[in-house]
Point group: C2
Chain length 332, copies 2
């Protein structure tokens, strides 16, 4: 039994109002990934660690997700990306913080995991490590997209308006650009045919974030966790996930209430709330349980299990046979 689950960020308030013009492209990216990697994971051609790495790399390349190319812009109009990865067997981990030129931050984190030490590398040193190990380096202009530039401009204008609040900013971003809070952090969790678990998460952070802000995504235990029992990737208001050690807490809750992964995730989302945080979690347990809960308007998500692909945005779910991929998904 092999399983691969993905998320493309959680966000938004109120009931889901259906797909925006850009959503089909987001779902098509997930379907493509699940269609490609699911069978390879099932066949033992790739292990869980490689599957989550490849999945997140593909989402980092999709400009409509907020990671790698298409990352949102920080207060200074630049891109600062965070990523982390962990495998269950020995709890080896890797993390890069505030990288600026590595095309695939998750692969840099993966290389740190493989090297074994250190677990975390920061900023220019992480980009240099990636480059030294042959990972592609890209320009800021390549990472930036028109959509993210427009979101940044709106954020900047609203911020400059007298009496504006952060909440106003988000409302403007939501409606005009078909975005729910512009989060779009990406993540993947996998169980391979040998019973190994792995988890990975990658993000550009949030539009207009202060320079130097570090969210939960690169923090082992907050945004990403994996041990022999469970693989977890979180998305949402990062600070609340840090203050609750959210990803690790999922493992703890599962340990205490063995076999009920859905309940463990729900409990953790309830713990995050009083800290002002909302978001979503994707998790797979060693026994093959899957949970993809979210407490926001939506969470972009996808699942490959037993040859079947399921995707979703709001509370609805789409199923597709891999063979019909690309025919009705809006994929260019």
């Amino acid at each position: 039994m092999a399983i691969l689950a993905l998320h493309g960020g959680a966000g938004g308030d109120g009931p889901w109002r259906g797909m925006t013009a850009l959503d089909p492209q987001r779902l098509a990216c997930m379907e493509r990934i699940l269609h490609d990697l699911g069978p390879r994971l099932e066949a033992g051609e790739i292990n869980a660690l490689e599957a989550v790495t490849l999945a997140v790399e593909s989402m980092e390349d999709e400009p409509l997700y907020n990671a790698g190319r298409g990352s949102v812009l920080a207060a200074d109009e630049r891109v600062y990306m965070d990523a982390s990865i962990m495998q269950g067997s020995d709890q080896a981990a890797g993390s890069v913080v505030n990288v600026e030129s590595t095309r695939h931050p998750i692969r840099a984190a993966h290389l740190l995991l493989k090297e074994g030490w250190p677990v975390m590398l920061n900023a220019a040193a992480a980009d240099a490590f990636a480059e030294k190990n042959g990972l592609e380096q890209v320009d800021l202009d390549w990472l930036k997209t028109d959509l993210r530039q427009a979101q940044w401009a709106k954020w900047h204008n609203e911020k400059s308006r007298p009496g504006s609040t952060d909440e106003d900013d988000e409302a403007v971003l939501d409606h005009d650009l078909g975005e729910a809070e512009g989060m779009g952090t990406v993540g993947a969790v996998a169980l391979d045919s040998s019973g190994n678990l792995a988890a990975a998460t990658s993000t550009g952070g949030m539009t207009g974030k202060p320079i130097g802000r570090i969210g939960d995504t690169p923090i082992i235990g907050a945004g990403t966790w994996c041990d022999p029992s469970v693989a977890v990737s979180c998305t949402g208001v990062g600070e609340a996930f840090i203050r609750t050690c959210a990803a690790h807490e999922v493992a703890v809750q599962l340990r205490n209430d063995s076999g009920n992964l859905a309940k463990a995730c729900d409990t953790v989302l309830e713990m995050v709330k009083p800290m002002g945080g909302r978001g979503g979690i994707i998790a797979i347990s060693r026994s093959g349980e899957v949970a993809l809960p979210f407490q926001t308007m939506l969470m972009y998500r996808g699942l490959w299990r037993a040859g079947r692909i399921t995707t979703g945005i709001g509370n609805e779910e789409y199923s597709s046979k891999p063979t019909t991929l690309g025919q009705n998904t809006g994929l260019p």
Copy 2:
């Protein structure tokens, strides 16, 4: 009932061989802090959060501890400091990563906690935040001490020697300079007279660390944790503490085995071992239990409880009446 506990880092192999020439100065620093802050904490003049901040600030100023002034030098002979702080009541937290010019990194983390968002700030942005908020900025020359320069030179020479290993390096540092692995990370945990808990940790990392390496000290859940039940500060091989979410795991173990803090800490130190990590933990529970375990040769530590001050390095313990402070401690 108010309690304040401190650590000045754990390290070393084999049996403790007694005090080095420099150890009295380290203990005197702790006694001074406990003598000053203990009664003020007991009287309710300062709360737990302020007590751990003031305690760590004082250890950051003591050049024989590896935090603030006297931080060890990274591979490039510069100083990169990490610190984090957390309070139990609402799990508010603050963290600064790889700061270079802020005299008291823990106070910068404290200010982030007070601001509420973001929790973590990185490098130059964290120094700029500190400066903007009136925190003293210092030069690299002020932070660097002759002792740390000598340790760096030894590390550099040994590294350049054919066939050398990291273990050789550490052995040389130990004996010639009266240092046990040169760790000396500092931390404090406190319970105040209103029942509030707080924890704080600060470090310069390790001699010759790769530029950009982030250890467990600034990671909420790894090096520092505090919730309504327990305050925890860890010291040791940072990567292993990250991969086990060690500080948070202490809270988890205590939750599962209510009231046995010593056992919780011991369990966590056993979890850290298979990851190649050893170290120490200081923790205080809401009910006033204290645990200061370590699995290394030594852990510099101090405790103020009920008007009594206790300090220790190896397995021995020293008690002192506050009034005799400075008379027989080797304090200059």
